[in-house]
Symmetry: C2
């Protein structure tokens, strides 16, 4: 997953125009010949990696641009060729994390036909992502205080794909009729807290019984058959007799949890 995002770097937000318009050569320790543009991208990636480390260790407010450029191995002035301020490299990291997480979830659940299987795979994929990307997890959470609007964008963007997948599953009778946005935030919150309690605090995936409990509660919670006093929804016909039936999305993209890896420029672009 990480490889994918490295080979196709996320299109830049506000920082990108600085790179494209100025595109200056800067001190570089690269050995192989490279065009100024390519060197620029490498330097930008190095700055982002260094910033991710420094923000995670020291927090946004304590972190300094001097420390970021020191770890990236570039002169302090080079920073400003890519990012106008500490806030902007922080925002770019949040956008990158959002993109990487949604792409990772999409790749994991796209081949899955049944939403109920997708819920388990989605949870496990999210927890693995948190384990591999602990730093970015911290960065994203601090975002609430650095840029509240971007923090909301992060959750709204994640919820959009979730809502789409749930609506499709409701239309197919795999999930009973519920408010899809409420259900999406409910499930996101559950996954995030489990990720915090086990993956983030203990730096390990949760024990099997924790995963089984969470998956079991979700599957029973959303299962049309779990409603003994209500008629069981028949797959493919549930739209007809349930209140609030959602738009029937084309079934061509089952379980698509996240939009594709399109370029992103954040909520203000």
């Amino acid at each position: 997953m990480i490889q994918a995002s490295v080979s196709q770097p996320v299109a830049a937000g506000e920082g990108a125009h600085v790179l494209q318009s100025q595109n200056r050569a800067e001190p570089s320790s690269q050995r192989r010949p490279a065009g100024a543009r390519e060197r620029g991208e490498l330097t930008r990636d190095r700055l982002l990696e260094a910033a991710e480390e420094v923000f995670a260790e020291q927090g946004f407010f304590r972190a300094s641009i001097a420390e970021i450029t020191r770890r990236a191995g570039v002169a302090q002035g080079t920073f400003y060729l890519y990012f106008p301020a500490k806030e902007e490299i922080f925002r770019e990291l949040v956008r990158k994390m959002s993109h990487d997480l949604r792409r990772t979830l999409q790749e994991a659940v796209a081949p899955i036909i049944d939403r109920r299987d997708a819920e388990r795979v989605g949870l496990e994929t999210f927890l693995k992502f948190v384990l591999e990307r602990r730093n970015l997890y911290t960065v994203m959470r601090e975002c609430e205080f650095v840029d509240p609007e971007l923090h909301r964008w992060y959750y709204r963007r994640l919820a959009e794909g979730y809502v789409r997948g749930l609506r499709q599953a409701m239309a197919r009778g795999q999930v009973r009729q519920l408010d899809p946005e409420a259900l999406a935030y409910f499930l996101m919150g559950a996954a995030q807290m489990i990720g915090m309690r086990w993956t983030f605090w203990e730096n390990t995936l949760p024990p099997r019984e924790v995963i089984e409990t969470v998956v079991s509660v979700i599957l029973h919670g959303i299962d049309p058959a779990g409603l003994p006093r209500e008629p069981r929804a028949t797959p493919g016909t549930s739209e007809g007799h349930s209140p609030g039936a959602p738009d029937a999305d084309p079934p061509a993209a089952p379980g698509a949890d996240a939009p594709g890896p399109e370029p992103e420029a954040g909520p203000r672009a």
Copy 2:
């Protein structure tokens, strides 16, 4: 709920010994005669209220002691009679929020016999708490970056009472046999995300359909009857035939979600 916590102020953490040992008179605008001890508590409460506002508006790292004392209407030096540093008044606010929330939940669910009713009431009580105490919600979340250990303590303490209530409900057959800690964090995460999305972002309680979706998924998810392929647990006898049956807590305290309002000194006491 808030009145209750005002009339019985939370026992102090590390800050308290400063008050008790020094207990000096300080400038006060109180008109009625009061002992030095009582004036001290009033001043301490004023400082806490001012700090809550300033932290919520400016964030911990930008907030200054000068601004806190200005809003509390006391001289800047007075601050140090009660709290050794900005970090300490912040920690005291987090402990106070933890205490107030657990007490509020306990008072709401204590009279409820059936855990399934307690889940709905607990969720609604939590959301009302967030609406009334928006500032403290922000403060508690920033705690992850100010004092990670205290942040964990906050969730562990909340989970403890939740686990106790769930174990009792499992023993009574109201909730099927699941990992109680996993279930507690799952439910806490779901409530927190719903609180963020509606109550915190939009400064209002969620619409009825959101509450109904969340409660419905929880109740179906935990209901022993929602498991058509497993024997239904009979109330009062479920401990005998279920794997992992928890300690049978005495049924004298049904639905007790939170420990009582005992003095607290935080995770380091």
